[in-house]
Amino acid sequence: MKMKKFASVLLAGAMVATMAGCTTTTDPDQPTTPGTTVTDPANPSTPAADGEVNLTMWCIATESDSNRHSYEAAIADVTAAHPEINFTWEAFENESYKTKIKAAVAADEMPDIFFTWSCAFLGDFVDAGRVYCLDDAYAKVKDELPESMMGNSTYNGKHYGVPLTMNIVGLFANMDLLKEVGYDEIPGTYDEFIACCDALKAANIIPFGCAGKETWCVTEYLESVIEKSVGYETLNDIFLARATWANPDVASAVDTFQSLVVNGYFDPAGDALTNDEVKANFMAGKYAFYMNGTWNCADFAANDEFFAKVKVGEFPVINADKATLGQLIGGPSDTLAVAQSSPNAAVAADFTFELGRLICKYGYLDGCGLPAWNVNYDDSAVNGLTQTVASICAQAKGYVLFGDTAMAAGDAQTYLEEVAMVYGCEVDGQTFVDDLASAIR
């Protein structure tokens, strides 16, 4: 009987121990490779032996991301320059990363360095006291990184993010298709632009490709139309909650955008397509225009056959009384930040600036975006599309950051849902502004 009791206690104990075993963390001595996590997630950065420092980073530069090469090259350079730092990094798919990083911040289990989007997205983390202030580290590199580029990650006068590249929304055009309807250049005025779209439609060429399945792609069109109708200052004020959505000019601009939809300029099949699919269709010659981020320049330039056909320009001005060319959608958004909980936060801060500078450099040279940092290297090999974007930005009068980045998460979600309804012809411009005015403020 005693034996039976002993056996039962032993078995039960073993089962409990097995359960407890499920929660033990991985062996920190296990060898590390990019794409794998081996450190204790509750304490990702731990002092290593012999004065070495362990630093970890999460980002979204997955194998298929056009920024992957710039991250790899930058990390190779910076780790070679700092042999005392054991650096491991992990990349996640964009959408799932948004959830992952929020959960990590909520649990205060962030890596030492993490990729984030600036403005409201990073702002929530800063408000919660989870992000390390980078003022001291920034002071050391101020000459190379203009204060204007730090604006989107500055809160209450303190700097919390290292900007990488900056991008704008570009109007990409397949010039072979435009030539078929008699245009050698991207139309410069809105009337010419509409005439061009009509000519394309008459020739059975779809003017615009847009991924209706990913509403942020619709905003690339809508925000450009609003900005070129009401001016960048008005749109900026609305996005940054300094003005109400209840603006008749914005309602009218939304109607203008919707008229493009109703006139059949967009591919109706785009409702069920992702951005990758639409981009592939554009490169395959299905659409004449594709409005999207200038980070696409790298992928377009990498395809020799398509690169010869594509040009990038600026969306034309719709209301010259309020808007001008040079008013752009975009700005520095891709950012690296340092966790407040990192035991090596000061080291991580310096390391992040160095890494950010190099990612910016390689990203620019690859054509993934424009440099947020000063250029003090030979950039003559940058692809022609990115150079065109650089010249557009050189003439910039003002920027409005992407709406879903500029606004707080809840507001951004409401905004995206309303944009989807405008694109789906469920609401008109007036209803759009009324709904947002009541829901957001």
Binding site: M1, K4, K5, S8, V9, L11, A12, M15, V16, M19, K98, T99, K102, A103, V105, A106, D124, F125, D127, A128, R130, G212, K213, E214, T215, Q258, V261, V262, N263, G264, F266, P268, A269, G270, D271, A272, L273, T274, E277, A408, A409, G410, A412, Q413, T414, L416, E417, A420, G424, C425, E426, V427, D428, A439
Partner: protein, 314 residues
């Protein structure tokens, strides 16, 4: 007396791991979700107690939970009245002991073993507008000069023409991009994936029916259909009940396949996708938690109702 106490301790010790698991995996998270559902919380910062405000939001039409629950109930009905009869038919057929029984069992069960995300990716290709397998197939089946694809396109265009601002007509069906076809398109892979799961449960029941009963019925002159109707199906009623509960609660909880296939909010939303949007996109953890609590209550309620219906039948 001592023996009884010792046995009691043994029973408790053996149950302890399961109890700990039950508490850690089920009860504590439900408790926490309930707690969060009364808070205004963005998931990161300070929480603020707001009483039942989140439940008021959930029951208002602000976040679109009503249409999402309606979609879930449609899915549950389709699962119960289409998926389960197919599973039962297959189970009865295979349970008869046909040639290649084991092979068919494995083939039908195989989709259950495949990751839902992989299944979603496969079906995304099938549903691709114009060049997808479904569009090509339906364009090829014609009644006179009109294909099935054309009929569906015309129907969607007619519906869109009734919108406040008429949409330009589609030339092919955006299967996953419109509210008219997206939900049905989500159900077909669900049916394909889980028909084998229910079939296996029912097959085990069918096999447990004593062969003597079948033989006796046969001697009395009963046909296969009569044997199934009057002997096999009544014998496996408890398993059918379990399958109905799984199908209904599974439909209420469905998330992954719809998330992969549709992605866009308000096209084929179910409560879980609304909860995900509220929690992880809008940073409304309180509202998301209130939806989670509601889902738990709904699942329990449906399980009890189904149980009661079956008891009444008995």
């Amino acid at each position: 007396m001592k023996k009884k106490i010792t046995n009691g301790i043994n029973v408790f010790l053996f149950l302890l791991p399961a109890l700990v698991l039950f508490l850690v995996i089920l009860i504590i998270p439900i408790g926490l979700s309930t707690y969060y559902s009364f808070q205004d919380w963005n998931g990161i910062g300070e929480m603020k107690f707001i009483g039942i405000e989140n439940y008021k939001t959930v029951f208002s039409d602000k976040i679109g939970l009503g249409p999402a629950i309606k979609n879930s109930i449609i899915l549950a009905a389709l699962s119960t009245f289409i998926q389960l009869p197919i599973s039962l038919g297959l189970a009865l057929l295979l349970g008869k002991g046909i040639k290649g029984e084991r092979v068919f069992l494995s083939v039908f069960f195989m989709p259950v073993l495949i990751s839902t995300v992989v299944i979603g990716q496969l079906w995304l290709k099938i549903y691709y507008p114009e060049q997808g397998m479904l569009s090509i197939l339906l364009s090829g089946i014609k009644f006179g000069s009109t294909s099935i694809e054309d009929l569906i396109v015309n129907w969607i265009n007619n519906m869109n023409a009734k919108l406040p601002i008429p949409k330009p007509p589609y030339t092919s069906v955006p299967w996953l991009g419109n509210t008219y076809t997206a939900l049905a398109c989500c159900f077909i892979p669900v049916l394909w994936q889980y028909v084998g799961y229910h079939m296996l449960l029912l097959y085990a029941g069918v096999k447990s029916v004593p062969p003597e009963l079948r033989e006796a019925a046969k001697i009395d002159g009963a046909s296969d259909g009569q044997i199934n109707r009057y002997i096999v199906i009544p014998s496996i009623k408890s398993i059918i009940k379990i399958c109905v509960i799984f199908a209904v609660t599974g439909s209420l909880k469905s998330f992954d396949l719809i998330y992969v296939l549709v992605a866009k909010p308000k096209v084929a939303d179910v409560p879980s996708t609304v909860m995900y949007t509220q929690m992880f996109k809008a940073n409304n953890y309180g509202t998301g938690s209130a939806i989670a609590v509601m889902l738990i209550v709904l699942c329990f309620a449906f399980a009890l109702i189904i149980g009661a219906i079956f008891r009444k039948e008995d």
